[in-house]
């Protein structure tokens, strides 16, 4: 079971306290109505599936409840870092 560092609680907590929220840094377009079908499709459905470094969202759902971002290696499952929502990608 992974240990995940919550950047809000500033503690390493077991994975069961968290839920994964999919790929990080996909901002909802400011004006969805002006998005082309192709761009909207990308926003809705197209995700990376990298081997290695992956930016993903997590939520400390059974802790502080906050969403944050993480860089995880999908091969080793190791967390490289976690950081607060709104901070630039690391």
């Amino acid at each position: 079971m992974l240990l995940i560092h919550c950047p809000y609680c500033e503690e390493d907590r077991p994975e069961v306290e968290f839920v994964n929220g999919g790929q990080a840094h996909i901002a909802r377009p400011a004006d969805p109505s002006s998005e082309s079908d192709a761009d909207w499709e990308k926003y809705l459905y197209i995700r990376r599936n990298p081997r290695g470094r992956h930016h993903e969202r997590w939520r400390h759902i059974h802790g502080c409840g906050r969403f944050f971002n993480a860089v995880r290696d999908t091969v080793s499952d190791r967390f490289e870092t976690t950081y607060k929502a709104g901070e630039p990608a690391k």
Binding site: E15, G21, S33, D37, L44, R59, S76, A85
Partner: protein, 953 residues
């Protein structure tokens, strides 16, 4: 009857004799014995029948790798455990065990005919034969196989034991308490920090337990570990290594005791988080592959050694060792010194080191170098073996009653692999050894390849004049896979070990190939003339050994399996005869039968009473979220399809929630309590999901909004009072709220008091009748419910349940999320475009509603259905077709989503999603059922009071 107890030796306590039963026969053993050692001491060499061919099988090993000697241990009603490995069962007085896979008895088994017909059961037999015909499979093969197959019998009674679970944290966890593990624990303990040492056997010591020369050291070391504060667990198996040194182990607490002595939990699951993990699991000896290597009495040399030196048991009176590795010689010499008669040492190698040769000579043991065993005489026990010279195949027979195999060693890398550590092939060992890992993990001792057992060579199959295809040379004993099956799989084109494994089932039994994987690899490698590394290695997965479901479940059973949520009115419902149903995690009253009333009768009565007079319903399970802050209206406006900003305080609105893909995912009424405060309701099952979605958007997309979200589902009890008399019922109880229609219209909310407690009183209706939803703080819910019930008596009030709620809402065409929608239904599909704020530039899901597929013609739309025969109630989920005479497979254009008998209408009604449904109004469609197609007319979704006049009172 070849095994017997030696006069002396072993770690058993000869002063404590124990008696036990095996297959109804009485045996004797001593404290410190395992079931296996005591049975061999009693001359029992036959332990079970094999899985596929029902061949007689004996003990192979004395560790967890044992594939053959699976037994069922009976500790009383509900405490019958099948498939225990006899060498892992500690003996206690009165133990009762049975052999498995035999009918009617171990010595005579009807299924053994399979062995005679063995030629008909090659690799892939099941895949090949049972492909056709289907009827034969269903009627003939499957029932026969079900009767024959399987290991042991599942217990049928409820397990009366309980199982514990706990966590532990340490700086160092050592798995395996052999010499290497003890040394690692000692080193770490000396430097401080918490050290845990776990071992699966009855006592720590590992390989040292079969080496009396190390016993003094062992005792001293264990005392030292205790003094240093190291926590040592015996009977504790590490079953899996998970991320970041999270190790799961099962401790067996009571099975080694007589049932009358057992107290407390039977097993305990340990979840251990360790800074560093040291794997010291040792190695497992490899069998040799030759014709007849599965006859009872053929076993591993390490087992013969452990039986003699740890348990004081000789496996036979004339024991032959067949070796390809020096360790076989050392075991033979140690056994000879312990008093076992070693008739011969046979080695496939042309030469061995001179000191081994000299030691054998000194003890007068006959030695056959460059020889192989090519046959075993005897069926239920070894009577003699055939030896062949490897070069000229000159054969001769050697009488003996036990044959020990020493085929080299396979390091136990299971947990290393669980941790996704890489392995590297070591040709000298003929085994995979731990290589790299990202965890703070080390392998030491035998499982790292660091051992002192001497030299050896790896042979796939022993040389023989007989071709492998004619030999009964077993690789996987538990799954009855022979060398020739693996050769056949290769001939048939399988190249990867993953495919060979599945085709032959090699390594797929409950022992996960602990003794067979490497031999299977070697045979495939040799047949393909490719290096082992080119064939691959199958992946080890947890658990390391089979475990009880009880240990894995722990306390999570019965009421603790999943929490059951009850409203504050639940007790009243139970006391008033409610029949309950579970909705999400909630227990809800489904209906309230009077006397011996049927469900249909009760629901009809509740429906009519509500339509004609008044009904009350516990709606407390509705999800409730308090949305507060200066931007609360803006937030809801962005999230829900409806417009919220213009909603005046004191008014309510039905909200429809889509996902970003444009599909309906939740709904509910929200009341604006103040300019900056909304009381939002969600579906019963959707509460947590909706709150999570709200938090997601608020935290990550719109952090600029000043809004706070609080779940209030359990803070409010909600009592729906519905029906023409609803106002009259609550009026005497309410204070501070003008209930008149003018002052308190439909879709309004007021704050005041009821029964002297504060209330948020909603005038809303999910029934189509005049209705109120009384929200009161949960602690007052029961009191208010009873007060309303009492006040309603003079008006003929009834309590109704979820079934009546469903019928009443269906009569009005109100959807239930998840029943009339399934995650592919848009507002337009549901006929709910009225719920969309047309002037809103955006809301979650809006952009998707313009996608081509969501606006195309012919999408499934929600419609009403009236069966031609009003007495027929359609099945929910039933498919709908246009032409009932169309040949199968018919064109299905939709399905029934809701269907009930409507007491108010005196007939059945149904909701359905139908392709292009709204354009089919008045058409007759058909619902094919086993009894024939049912005709139904497409109608509006609103069956009752289409004008809504009943609300307006």
């Amino acid at each position: 009857m070849s095994g017997y107890r030696l006069d002396k030796g072993g770690r058993i306590d000869r002063a404590v004799p124990l008696s036990f039963r095996f297959d109804g026969q009485d045996f004797r053993g001593f404290a410190g014995d395992t079931l296996a050692s005591a049975l061999v001491a009693g001359g029992q060499m036959l332990f079970g029948r094999s899985f596929k061919y029902r061949r007689p099988r004996g003990l192979l090993a004395t560790g967890v790798e044992e594939p053959n000697a699976l037994v069922t241990v009976d500790r009383g009603p509900g405490r019958v455990t099948p498939n225990l490995r006899a060498p892992s069962v500690a003996l206690h007085d009165g133990l009762i065990a049975q052999s498995q896979n035999r009918y009617p008895s171990l010595k005579t088994d009807f299924g053994a005919i399979n062995d005679r017909l063995g030629a008909l059961f090659p690799a892939g037999f099941y895949n090949k034969t049972f492909m056709w015909p289907r009827s034969a499979w269903e009627k003939l093969y499957e029932p026969a196989i079900r009767k024959m197959a399987g290991l042991g019998e599942s217990p049928k009674e409820r397990d009366p034991d309980h199982y514990g679970a706990t966590y532990a944290h340490c700086e160092l966890l050592v798995i395996g308490a052999g010499p290497a593990g003890i040394a690692a624990a000692m080193d770490a303990a000396a430097t401080g920090g918490r050290v845990i040492l776990i071992d699966e056997q009855e006592e720590p010591g590992g390989g040292a337990l079969a080496d009396p020369a190390q016993w003094a050291w062992l005792a001293e070391s264990l005392a030292k570990l205790a003094a240093l504060g190291v926590t040592v667990f015996s009977r504790t198996t590490a079953i899996g290594h998970y991320h970041q040194n999270f190790v799961v182990a099962v401790e067996r607490l009571t099975d080694h005791l007589a049932p009358s002595q057992a107290a407390g939990p039977r097993e305990k699951l340990w979840r251990i988080r360790a800074g560093e993990v040291v794997l010291a699991q040792g190695a497992i000896e490899r069998p040799l592959v030759f014709d007849g290597n599965d006859v009872p009495g053929v076993m591993l040399a390490s087992a013969g050694r452990a039986l003699a030196l740890r348990f004081g048991v000789a496996v036979g009176r004339a024991v032959v060792v067949m070796a390809s590795h020096d360790s076989g010689w050392r075991d033979a010499l140690a056994m000879a010194e312990a008093g076992v008669t070693i008739a011969a040492i046979v080695d496939v190698r042309p030469a061995v080191s001179s000191d081994l040769q000299a030691a054998a000579d000194a003890l007068g043991i006959a030695v056959y170098l460059n020889h192989s065993v090519t046959g075993v005489k005897g069926r239920l026990e070894v009577k003699a073996i055939t030896l062949c010279h490897n070069d000229d195949y000159l054969a001769h027979t050697l009488p003996c009653d036990a044959l020990l195999m020493a085929g080299g060693w396979t390091p136990t890398v299971h947990l290393w692999s669980h941790a996704r550590g890489t392995l590297k092939w070591d040709a000298a060992f003929g085994a995979y050894l731990p290589d790299t890992t990202v965890e703070n993990l080390r392998a030491v001792g035998g499982c790292s390849g660091n051992w002192n057992y001497g030299d050896g060579i790896v042979v796939a199959t022993l040389p023989s004049p007989k071709p492998v295809s004619k030999q009964k040379a077993f690789v996987d004993f538990q799954n009855d896979v022979k060398a020739r099956d693996i050769a056949l799989a290769v001939q048939e084109g399988f190249r990867s070990i993953e495919h060979i494994k599945r085709y032959t089932t090699n390594g797929m039994a409950t022992d996960q190939g602990k003794t067979s994987n490497l031999n299977g690899l070697q045979i495939a490698s040799e047949t393909l003339s490719k290096p082992v590394t080119a064939i691959g290695l199958t992946t080890f997965r947890p658990p390391y050994t089979p475990q009880t479901f009880g240990a894995l479940m722990g306390h999570h059973k019965d009421a603790l399996f999943q929490p059951l949520r009850k409203t504050v009115i639940d007790d009243w419902a139970a006391a008033n005869g409610a029949v309950f149903e579970n909705v999400a995690q909630w227990r809800r009253a489904r209906y309230f039968p009077q006397g011996r009333e049927s469900m249909d009768a009760a629901v009809a009565r509740e429906c009519l009473a509500t339509r004609e007079r008044v009904g009350m319903f516990d709606a407390s399970t509705l999800g409730k979220i308090e949305v507060v802050g200066p931007d609360a209206a803006e937030f809801l406006n962005r999230l829900y399809t409806n417009p919220w900003k213009a909603l005046e305080p004191g008014r309510c609105r039905y909200g429809l929630l889509l996902n970003e893909q444009g599909f309906i995912i939740d709904d509910g009424v929200a009341g604006r309590m103040a300019a900056d405060r909304f009381h939002v309701t969600t579906t019963t099952g959707g509460a947590a999901r909706v709150l999570g979605m709200m938090e997601d958007y608020l935290q990550t997309e719109w952090p600029d909004l000043n809004v706070w979200l609080t779940s209030t589902t359990e803070q409010w009890a909600v009592i729906a009072v519905q029906g023409p008399k609803a106002r009259e019922v609550i009026a005497p109880l309410v204070e501070g709220i003008d209930l008149s229609p003018e002052a308190f219209p439909h879709m309004a909310v007021r704050e005041g008091a009821i029964c002297d407690v504060p209330t948020r009183l909603f005038r809303v209706s999910f029934t189509g009748e005049l209705g109120f939803e009384v929200n009161v703080p949960a602690e007052h819910g029961r009191m208010v419910w009873e007060a309303i019930h009492a006040a309603g008596q003079e008006h003929g009030i009834v309590a109704y349940g979820t079934e009546t709620m469903h019928v009443l809402r269906a009569e009005k065409g109100f959807i239930i999320i998840g029943q009339d929608t399934d995650g592919t239904v848009t507002p337009d599909d549901a006929g709910m475009n009225w719920a969309i704020g047309k002037k809103k530039p955006d809301f979650v899901g809006k952009r998707s509603l313009a996608r081509a597929d969501l606006v195309r013609e012919g999408r499934k739309q929600l419609v009403g259905l009236l069966t031609r025969d009003p007495a027929v109630v359609l099945e929910e989920g039933a498919q709908i077709v246009v032409d009932p005479a169309e040949p199968v497979p018919m064109t299905m254009i939709g399905h029934v989503t809701s269907s009930y008998h409507s007491a108010a209408l005196g007939r059945s009604i149904a909701l359905a999603v139908v392709a292009g449904g709204r354009a089919r109004m008045g058409q007759t469609l058909h619902v094919p059922m086993p009894g024939g197609a049912i005709a139904a007319e497409v109608v509006s979704t609103v069956f009752y009071d289409a004008e809504g006049s009943r609300l307006d009172v």
